[in-house]
């Protein structure tokens, strides 16, 4: 490596011009790796077979030339130069078994990998951009009919709400919300108590209504509850086999009578 001619590898005039242009254009490079990739092209070989040693020299020459031309190089170019100088020495000297760290070959292989990968990504980018583009080569629907997202709020109110509201107004403070009013509830047990002693007399069909307890026939709420409870009680007694029920027709009065024990 005695005084390597910087343009040793540059054979053709065009290549020489290109190499000179490299220096003038130093700002145009996207960092040392980009520069290395460009320099590697002068080797005119597959990146996988590139001589990293040669590339390192090319780079160092480049940096030297730039210095001579008083081009200010960014720090990372100089860091790369130092690293490549180190790599160069590793590659040239026989491996020292006592030395720690990766071998020169490993480092060179990694640099080659990095270059190849960057090159591959550039080619991939170019292929990507060469694809058909939406809005240039193929097109989406020109008049999309957008889905109208209607958020419909429906207000609901039941008749009960309405009536309660009205009742609330009409009675003002007087109004209290509906609660189960125990006063107006007749339980089935109570109805059974009323009914049991009476059925002994029910030899003939008698309307169930007549069995409603005293005081439960007038007020509609009480009457309704009493009717239901008495009916339930009558079903209970029918189950026990003590009475029979009948209803001549829909909505007709329900009638009961004592069931004769003779057939039971």
């Amino acid at each position: 490596m005695s005084d390597p001619d910087p343009w040793d590898n540059v054979t053709s005039v065009e290549a020489r011009r290109a190499a000179e242009a490299l220096i003038v254009d130093v700002d145009g490079f996207e960092g040392p790796l980009d520069l290395l990739l460009t320099l590697s092209r002068t080797q005119k070989v597959d990146l996988r077979r590139i001589s990293i040693l040669q590339l390192a020299e090319q780079y160092l020459v480049f940096v030297e030339q730039a210095r001579k031309l008083r081009i200010e190089l960014a720090a990372d170019y100089l860091v790369m130069a130092a690293w490549l100088a180190f790599l160069k020495s590793r590659l040239l000297l026989p491996p020292d078994p006592t030395e720690e760290g990766p071998s020169g070959e490993d480092m060179a292989a990694h640099l080659a990998f990095q270059l190849e990968r960057l090159q591959a990504m550039r080619e991939a980018a170019a292929r990507l951009m060469a694809r058909d583009h939406l809005g240039r080569d193929f097109f989406a629907r020109g008049i999309p009919e957008d889905v109208t997202r209607v958020k419909r709020i429906t207000y609901t109110a039941s008749l009960l709400d309405l009536m309660q509201a009205y009742a609330r107004i009409r009675t003002r403070d007087d109004f209290r919300p509906y609660v189960m009013d125990r006063e107006a509830i007749l339980t089935m047990e109570q109805a059974l108590d009323t009914l049991r002693p009476l059925i002994g007399f029910a030899g003939d069909w008698t309307s169930l209504e007549t069995y409603l307890p005293q005081g439960w026939t007038h007020d509609p709420a009480r009457r309704r509850s009493a009717t239901a409870a008495t009916f339930a009680a009558a079903l209970e007694l029918a189950k026990e086999g003590r009475i029979e029920l009948r209803q001549p027709g829909t909505f007709d009065p329900i009638e009961i009578r004592r069931k004769d024990r003779r057939d039971g």
């Binding site: 080569d137 097109f139 989406a140 629907r141 020109g142 008049i143 009919e145 957008d146 889905v147 109208t148 997202r149 209607v150 958020k151 419909r152 709020i153 429906t154 207000y155 609901t156 109110a157 039941s158 008749l159 009960l160 709400d161 309405l162 009536m163 309660q164 509201a165 009205y166 009742a167 609330r168 107004i169 009409r170 009675t171 003002r172 403070d173 007087d174 109004f175 209290r176 509906y178 009013d181 107006a184 509609p220 709420a221």
Partner: protein, 221 residues
């Protein structure tokens, strides 16, 4: 794409099937309906857009989109029977506010009723929003103007209201007596409550609703 700029157009019009594809693509991508003249201008020389349109129209017959004439242009449009797919409706059900339901109840029971009357019955002023909401729900509407000074508008309930609440007519609304019987009202009228209701009655025109409530009041005594 450059190849296409000069290709067979210079020589002969492409086959009709190809013209149809072209018209299809142009109409699909265009932001506006495209006229036959515009189509002919865009298609290769010698193409017959009008004929291609007829083929294309037939091809889309019965499909989910239709080739439709709009003004003097042509465009694809969703088949009318599938318009419902273009709406994504989210229905949110909310309870009507207390103010709204009370106002609605008053209109229902006292119609036709003026805003002043509603306020008198409720004892609080009725916000514009409440009335608007009920009108928007199509549950109340404006009735005739009252033939009194100021000729105030009145409100009445609508057919939609009756439909919603399952009523044949507003007359079918249960009266106070029935409300009471149904346990919705406490049976004890508050002292002084009668005075109040009498006032209300004064405000009421001698309509059916008023009658109904006279009956009710009578029944409680």
């Amino acid at each position: 794409m450059a190849e296409h700029d000069q290709d067979p157009s210079l020589f002969a019009a492409p086959p009709m099937a190809e013209q149809e594809r072209m018209v299809e693509a142009v109409l699909f991508a265009s932001a506006e309906p495209v006229t036959v003249a515009e189509l002919n201008a865009r298609l290769p020389h010698g193409a017959d857009a009008a004929e291609a349109l007829q083929h294309l129209r037939r091809r889309y017959e019965g499909r989910g989109v239709q080739l439709t004439r709009i003004g003097d242009g042509w465009a694809f449009r969703t088949a009318t029977d599938l318009g419902f797919l273009m709406h994504k409706e989210t229905v949110e059900t909310r309870k009507l506010s207390r103010a709204a339901i009370e106002t609605l109840a008053i209109v229902a029971y006292h119609q036709p009723v003026t805003r002043a009357e509603i306020e008198e019955i409720r004892g609080v002023s009725v916000s514009r929003g409440t009335v608007d909401q009920l009108i928007e729900l199509d549950w109340i509407r404006f009735g005739r103007r009252r033939m009194t000074p100021g000729r105030p508008v009145t409100f009445v309930v609508t057919q939609q209201f009756l439909d919603h609440f399952g009523l044949e007519s507003a007359r079918d609304l249960p009266g106070l007596k029935e409300l009471r019987a149904a346990g919705l009202l406490d049976s004890r009228p508050l002292p002084g409550a009668e005075d109040k209701t009498e006032d209300d009655e004064d405000a009421l025109p001698p309509g059916d609703q008023g009658d109904m409530f006279e009956d009710d009041e009578g029944a409680t005594r």
